[in-house]
């Protein structure tokens, strides 16, 4: 654990010479970013109390899973994918269609099939489905690079969104799907918000652990080498296409997991959660937090969620503008980051 050893070494040094900590870190953007975001989150939680913390924590956990998964692609292969929201949506819709128990006979829309599966049976299906779609998409996209990759990944997001909106026999289009199942293990039903938050955090921990194992393994080192110089690593006999495809599929499966969790958490989904702009926001979270850094993605997701929640308490700010102002702030932040800190707050890789 590089973070833990780093922290211990840092503490030892501070114990030896108390002034050194301040001298060394007052100019460090990383430290201040960490302090400000974490402190802000902590103050808010303490001020608003438990219920608020549970809601914010759940939203944060879902965004964090998404951000960590996208960072595996953007940070470790250098391919700027703007279409990740598509996999998120595939996971969510798979979960919703498979577990929804609502009968739509009363409503004036076409009946969609209801399966009524339990959560834990549908979860692997939605994850694997996202992975399979990613496999096909990855094969189709494997020859694209840089800015053309951005364009085609925009395309994937648009195609996914249109499918969610227009394949009405399966997704009920703009009406959305209600009564998505909450997870249950035998008699233990994750019905309350607190239990669900615990489950979300477990999954977040799992995703972070897997990502950490990947990026510290030899597999991760090959990926880093691909990012730095793809032709050079090809010369050494690595099939870079396969590595990129593998990490792409893994990342998409994580995004699918995030989608499934979202569907179950909110028990209702409609295509509006998967529009192109959300995808762009996700990319800006990852870049804001820092590329090629798992902690950066967590921090970026936290900053993003706290930005929205924090703005709810700004006086004279109409609530309908919150989303727009957040988008504006993120846009301006992206510009500033590209100007002054292209690696993001705590990142290790510049675009």
């Amino acid at each position: 654990m590089s973070i833990a050893t780093g922290a211990i070494r840092g503490l030892q040094e501070v114990a030896r010479d108390p002034g050194s900590w301040w001298r060394r870190s007052k100019g460090s953007v990383e430290l201040w970013a960490n302090l400000i975001v974490l402190g802000w989150a902590l103050v808010f939680m303490l001020w608003r109390g438990g219920g608020f913390a549970i809601t914010v924590g759940s939203v944060f956990a879902i965004w964090a899973v998404l951000a960590v998964s996208l960072n595996l692609v953007v940070g470790y292969t250098g391919l700027l994918s703007v279409g990740h929201i598509g996999f998120f949506g595939i996971g969510a819709y798979a979960m919703a269609v498979l577990t929804s128990s609502a009968s739509y006979e009363q409503l004036r829309t076409e009946a969609i099939p209801t399966f009524g599966w339990p959560f834990f049976a549908a979860l692997p299906i939605s994850v694997v489905l996202a992975g399979l779609v990613a496999l096909v998409v990855g094969v189709a996209f494997n020859r694209f690079r840089d800015d053309i990759y951005v364009l085609v990944s925009f395309g994937f997001a648009v195609i996914a969104f249109t499918t969610f909106l227009s394949w009405r026999n399966l997704t009920r289009g703009a009406f959305g799907i209600h009564q998505v199942a909450r997870p249950a293990i035998g008699p233990l039903v994750f019905d309350g918000e607190l239990e669900f938050l615990a489950l979300l955090l477990v999954f977040l921990g799992l995703v972070v652990l897997i990502s950490w194992l990947i990026v510290t393994s030899s597999f991760g080192r090959v990926l880093t080498a691909i990012r730095e110089d793809e032709e050079a690593i090809e010369v050494f006999g690595y099939r870079t296409t396969h590595y990129k495809l593998a990490i792409w599929v893994i990342s998409a499966m994580m995004a699918g997991l995030a989608g499934a969790l979202l569907a179950s958490w909110s028990t209702f989904i409609d295509p509006n959660s998967f529009v192109l702009l959300e995808s762009v926001l996700l990319v800006s979270i990852v870049i804001l937090g820092g590329l090629a850094s798992i902690w950066g993605s967590l921090l970026g997701a936290l900053a993003f969620v706290m930005l929205e929640e924090g703005m709810r308490f700004v006086p004279f700010l109409p609530s309908e503008f919150i989303g727009q102002i957040r988008q504006m702030i993120l846009g301006i932040l992206l510009v500033l980051l590209m100007l002054f800190r292209p690696q993001g707050l705590v990142g290790r890789f510049k675009l």
Binding site: L151, Q327, M328, L334
Partner: protein
């Protein structure tokens, strides 16, 4: 690792298509598409004509977008995503100036802060433009202090004038008539002088006083004419919207892109930064105008014409004409003028262009301005054709981007051909599907083109 190997075994053959296999696949695909469209045409020619007309109408917008996009791209070599916001600014600029005219004015928007913001931006851009264009030249004759004062006053005046125009949308024909007079007089002065050289006397001195007097009279006449024609308001608002979009583009170029390109000239960094700008401007537009779709006021030619059993709106014919005219103008500028030579030189190698004495900053600024004007035109044409909404910018941007890739990136002929081809393919593609799948079709077209014809229909030479 094992997953990588597994996927490798399963898909290895797909990933490493041989050159001739890929070409065979592409040819088969092209034949299939042509056969499908041909079969459709034979099946119901009337309907096919209708889809072709729709395709041309949509294609005109895409062609306009692709032309500006490709011009900017082939000069600075990064994808400027502000372009989508420029289209949205064009459409919403028209709406802002004509909102009292739309649906009885129930969505009328005119906010002081927005006017002030644009006034400040325009004043800044004007100050920069004056500085770049005139400061050095005049420095020999006039003292720098006097220049600064006069230039500052002039820029402030331009800013205040912009604010006035935006604050009085109902009297656009009155407020803008001095500007029109100035423009007409300027063009007339240049044109008359040129004609005198060509037709009367090519060596001696021109009768400057007489030419200037004629130009001023002509300008005044046109100004009076404009001031007495309130119905010109809509068309004047088109001009203002295009200028505003261009001004914002210049402000971004000077305020941001110049610095960024000096720091790190990486296409991906520029792309992400311009994505941030697109996000911010889209949010700004949503805050000012709300997210619901809005109509633009009626213009000429909203009555459909019937040609051979199919309908096309007069406005769409105008849009197609606009696209062709825009193409001709751009082609003339790039191929025949000194400006075009400079643009191509910068596109080939910016450093060398700078060394041989091309003022790259000014030329690139003009390119950004022209690009934003084309985007704004496309935005307002598509707005008049359907409706406007804040997120239209991103979609129009993507369509323009796709059209320029399909046509051949960096090639002007490719841009117009790609635009119309994309429009046609989109419309024929949704024949058997619902209209909401058209974005999907255009992206599938894009991916097919990138996979099999990455250089596009008409590659850049």
């Amino acid at each position: 690792m094992s997953l990588a190997q597994l996927s490798g075994f399963m898909l290895g053959s797909l990933l490493r298509l041989r050159e001739h296999q890929s070409r065979l696949l592409a040819t088969a695909l092209a034949v299939a598409v042509v056969a499908y469209i041909g079969w459709k045409i034979v099946q119901s020619p009337d309907q096919a004509l209708q889809f072709a007309f729709n395709g041309l109408a949509v294609g005109a917008v895409y062609a306009l977008l692709a032309m500006g996009f490709t011009l900017v791209y082939s000069t600075v070599w990064f994808f400027d995503l502000y372009y989508g916001a420029a289209a949205a600014i064009g459409a919403y600029g028209v709406f802002y100036l004509r909102s009292h005219d739309v649906l009885g004015g129930q969505y009328a928007v005119n906010s002081g802060p927005v006017n002030v913001l644009f006034a400040v931006v325009t004043a800044g851009v004007a100050a920069w433009a004056l500085h770049v264009l005139l400061y050095r030249r005049l420095l020999r004759r006039v003292s720098p202090k006097a220049l600064l004062v006069v230039g500052g006053l002039l820029a402030t005046a331009i800013g205040v004038y912009t604010g006035l125009v935006l604050a009085n949308p109902a009297e656009l024909h009155l407020v803008l008539s001095p500007l029109v007079a100035l423009l007409v007089a300027g063009v007339a002065y240049w044109g008359l002088g040129h004609a005198y050289r060509q037709l009367v006397d090519s060596t001696g001195r021109r009768p400057i006083a007489a030419i200037a007097a004629a130009a001023i009279v002509l300008g005044a006449f046109v100004a009076v004419l404009v001031a007495n024609t309130p119905s010109l308001g809509l068309y004047l608002s088109w001009g203002v919207a295009c200028l505003l979009s261009g001004t914002v583009s210049l402000a971004l170029y000077r305020g941001l892109y110049v610095t960024m390109r000096e720091r790190a000239n990486s296409p991906l960094i520029m792309l992400v930064a311009s994505l941030g700008i697109l996000l911010a401007i889209t949010a700004f537009i949503t805050i000012v105008f709300r997210s619901a779709p809005r109509p633009l006021p009626d213009t000429f030619g909203s009555e459909p014409w019937t040609i051979g059993g199919a309908n096309i709106k007069g406005f769409n014919v105008f849009a197609i004409g606009l696209a062709l005219a825009g193409f001709s103008i751009l082609l003339f500028m790039v191929k025949k003028t000194a400006f075009g030579k400079a643009v191509r030189a910068i596109g080939d190698d910016e450093e060398v262009a700078k060394v041989v004495g091309i003022n790259t900053t000014v030329i690139i600024a003009i390119v950004f301005f022209i690009g934003a004007v084309y985007a704004a035109l496309a935005g307002l044409v598509s707005g008049h054709d359907t409706a406007i909404q804040p997120r239209m910018g991103l979609l129009l941007l993507l369509k323009g981007w796709i059209a320029s890739v399909v046509g051949g990136i960096g090639s002007l002929y490719g841009a117009i051909v790609g635009g119309f081809a994309l429009g046609m393919l989109e419309q024929f593609g949704i024949w058997d599907l619902a209209g909401e799948w058209r974005d999907v079709i255009s992206f599938i077209v894009l991916i097919v083109f990138l996979s099999f014809w990455p250089q596009g229909l008409i590659p850049r030479k």
